[in-house]
């Protein structure tokens, strides 16, 4: 187990800068997730940590040792690939022990290690099969087994679950989390699936265009997104963005919501809105903050009940998503399935802005921090 420091790493291909100065430091045993849309540089960063690609500038430290220019094999890391990259000509057993063999581990010790890993991942019965004879989920386990067998200082997972079907993906996700809790290893995990990121990570680094937009715990990122991009990327269904006008009132600036009737919404951090009076800002409100009227919330500050027009309803079982519209913008609300809402109806909904966030409409910069 080791800590990992990525110190101002820059990667250029010719003129294009793929990584624009990445700074991330994680403790030993931490589970870091790199998340972002495709092309954001997360896989390049992963390859740079692995040593499969050389960085242009900056340093990478594993266990306080500078490995920026070290060979992949000398970094003591293991990687699980999206395609699993199992050696097709070797049996599962040979696949798992190949890394040990390359490191000149004696045969008896290799056998013991293969047995240990196979039992941990419940693949003992598959040891003599070839990868082609395995299902997707089984291949995934073998790929993890290959990484675990070497007991490296650092594990890299490159979108390991994206080739599995939905059900298996959820199962393996839990499995990986259990494994991390049991072994306490340092893991860097790349994904574009924000649910994976939320559920697995100790800390998440949200990336875009070769820059880290925000680095923080899942809850920090969910509740306190640094900018419009992070806010829109994390969470499913996504955060609602509502352009609202800031109007001055006796009790300070408020936000004008233009639904069925004009409603003024309060906002926790009034001070930041002062300079925006008369202008339009982007209000960010998670769907679960717009609900059917709940008696226990009545009278709380930052809670306003107003009427909306139902456009579409999507029952999801546990709750029902109600789609409405404020001017041009679609808004998702999360209501109790028993709450009557039919398309076309005007119904009462409760807006809770205690956790609302505000962004500059042009730059996407967070205003209330």
């Amino acid at each position: 187990m080791a800590n990992l420091v990525i110190d101002n790493v820059i990667k250029r291909y010719g003129q294009t800068e793929v990584l624009k100065g990445i700074n991330i430091a994680i403790e030993a045993g931490e589970f870091l997730i790199l998340v972002g849309p495709s092309g954001c540089g997360k896989s390049t960063l992963m390859n740079s940590i692995a040593g499969l690609e050389e960085v242009t500038e900056g340093r990478i430290l594993i266990d306080d040792k500078d490995v920026t220019y070290a060979n992949p094999k000398d970094r003591d890391i293991a990687m699980v690939f999206q395609s699993y990259a199992l050696y097709p000509n070797m049996t599962v057993e040979q696949n798992i022990s190949f890394g040990l063999e390359m490191r000149k581990v004696p045969k008896e010790d290799r056998d013991i290690e293969v047995k240990r890993v196979a039992e941990m991942l419940q693949i003992t019965h598959l040891l003599h099969r070839k990868p082609a004879q395995l299902s997707g989920g089984q291949r995934q386990r073998v790929a993890m087994g290959r990484a675990l067998a070497r007991r490296p200082q650092l594990y890299l997972f490159d979108e390991p679950l994206s080739n599995l079907d939905a059900k298996l993906r959820v199962e393996m996700r839990t499995e990986i989390k259990k494994l991390h809790q049991k072994l306490g290893t340092t893991i860097v995990y790349v994904t574009h699936d924000q649910i994976e990121a939320m559920t697995l990570a100790d800390r998440i680094a949200v990336m875009k265009d070769g820059e880290v937009q925000q680095l923080g715990t899942p809850q920090e990122i969910y509740d306190n997104p640094a900018n419009l991009f992070v806010a829109g990327f994390m969470g499913s269904p996504a955060m609602n963005f509502i352009p609202t006008k800031v109007v001055a009132t006796d009790t300070g600036p408020m936000l004008e919501l233009d639904a069925v009737q004009k409603t003024l919404l309060p906002f926790p951090n009034k001070a930041c809105l002062e300079s925006y009076v008369g202008k339009t800002i982007m209000l960010g409100l998670r769907p679960e903050m717009i609900t059917e009227p709940q008696a226990h919330k009545d009278g709380q500050p930052f809670v306003i009940t107003t009427e909306i027009n139902v456009e579409v309803t999507e029952p999801m079982g546990a709750d029902t998503m109600i789609l409405t519209r404020v001017k041009e913008n679609e808004i998702n609300c999360r209501s109790h399935p028993a709450y009557p809402a039919k398309p076309g109806d005007n119904i009462k909904m409760m807006f809770d802005t205690s956790k609302a966030v505000a962004f500059d409409q042009e730059t996407g910069v967070r205003l209330d921090v």
Binding site: L52, K73, I77, M79, F81, A85, Y87, G99
Partner: protein, 295 residues
């Protein structure tokens, strides 16, 4: 039973007629394609007198195998009269090392070009590709100079060298295209596991290359075995391949032309490539289409 009968597809008279026509066309095309070989075979089994009567397509009145033994061991090729058997050995001495060396080099080249890309590797590949389009005649003179300069003119080694140089462009192309479909993550995984350049090649890449190795070996074997131009240009008197010997045999005659001996010799000279195709043809087709479908 009645059910099965009821759902059977009805074939109309026209459909049946079309089917017959189809088979007739196929059979006649196959016959046209096979005709030269059939003529060669039956001519080789006739005696000289029977050939002279000009009945090209008629079956031999009686079977004569002496033309085969003569072609093999006592027909005259130029000034020697040992048949074509000694030249078979020459051909094998050229073909076997040339096929092995060009295949191995092609495999390594393809491996590097697809999986260890370096600055200019695409340019390198493009340059190699041009090698596939250079006509044989163009390199005859420069190659003769080069062989002389290397001191291997008129030797088996020289011919092996020529065939390797000329073949590497093709073998590299084959292997490169095959390795394009092999996921690069295999190499990455092996590097992280601690394997080096040749270990990865030998332990991981070569074992999955069987289809393309078969294709390359067949291709190179056929090309080199059938080569006449390089053989006639660069071989010495005692290093002539069988194709050159066949030409000499046909052109050497005392008195009448012995067509039966010529035909027997020609069939024998073609036999090795035929055998290779029959034994490995299945893998050849499979290898050519490999990569298109993922295992």
């Amino acid at each position: 039973m009645s059910n099965i009968k009821a759902i059977r597809r009805k074939t109309t008279a026209i459909e049946r007629l079309l089917r017959v026509a189809l088979y007739l066309v196929l059979i006649s095309v196959a016959a046209i394609y096979l005709l030269p070989f059939i003529v060669m075979l039956i001519t080789s089994l006739k005696d000289v007198e029977e050939i002279r009567t000009g009945t090209l397509l008629s079956l031999p009145a009686s079977l004569h195998f002496d033309s085969w033994s003569k072609a093999w061991s006592s027909a005259c090729t130029g000034s020697t009269c040992d048949g074509i058997s000694p030249f078979f050995l020459n051909s094998f001495q050229i073909v076997i090392p040339a096929v092995i060396i060009s295949t191995v080099l092609g495999a390594i080249n393809g491996y590097v070009i697809s999986m260890w890309k370096f600055r200019g590797s695409d340019l390198f590949f493009a340059a190699l590709l041009i090698g596939c389009f250079i006509p044989f005649q163009v390199i005859l003179l420069p190659m003769a100079r080069t062989l002389g300069w290397l001191g291997i003119a008129n030797t088996t080694t020289g011919l092996v060298f020529v065939h390797v140089v000329y073949g590497v462009a093709f073998t590299t192309l084959f292997f490169r295209n095959f390795y394009q479909s092999v996921p690069g993550e295999l190499v990455k995984a092996a590097r992280l596991d601690g394997a080096g350049f040749f270990t990865i090649f030998y332990r991981i890449i070569l074992p999955i290359s069987t289809p393309i190795i078969v294709v390359t070996v067949i291709w190179q074997f056929t090309q080199i075995w059938n080569d006449f131009l390089f053989g006639v240009a660069f071989s010495g008197f005692d290093t002539q391949p069988v194709t050159v010997a066949l030409n000499n045999l046909v052109n050497t005659s005392f008195g009448g032309k012995e067509y039966n001996v010529d035909m027997a010799a020609a069939i024998m000279a073609a036999l090795p490539t035929l055998i290779v195709y029959v034994l490995a043809g299945k893998y050849f087709v499979r290898g050519l289409t490999a990569g298109a479908v993922k295992g």
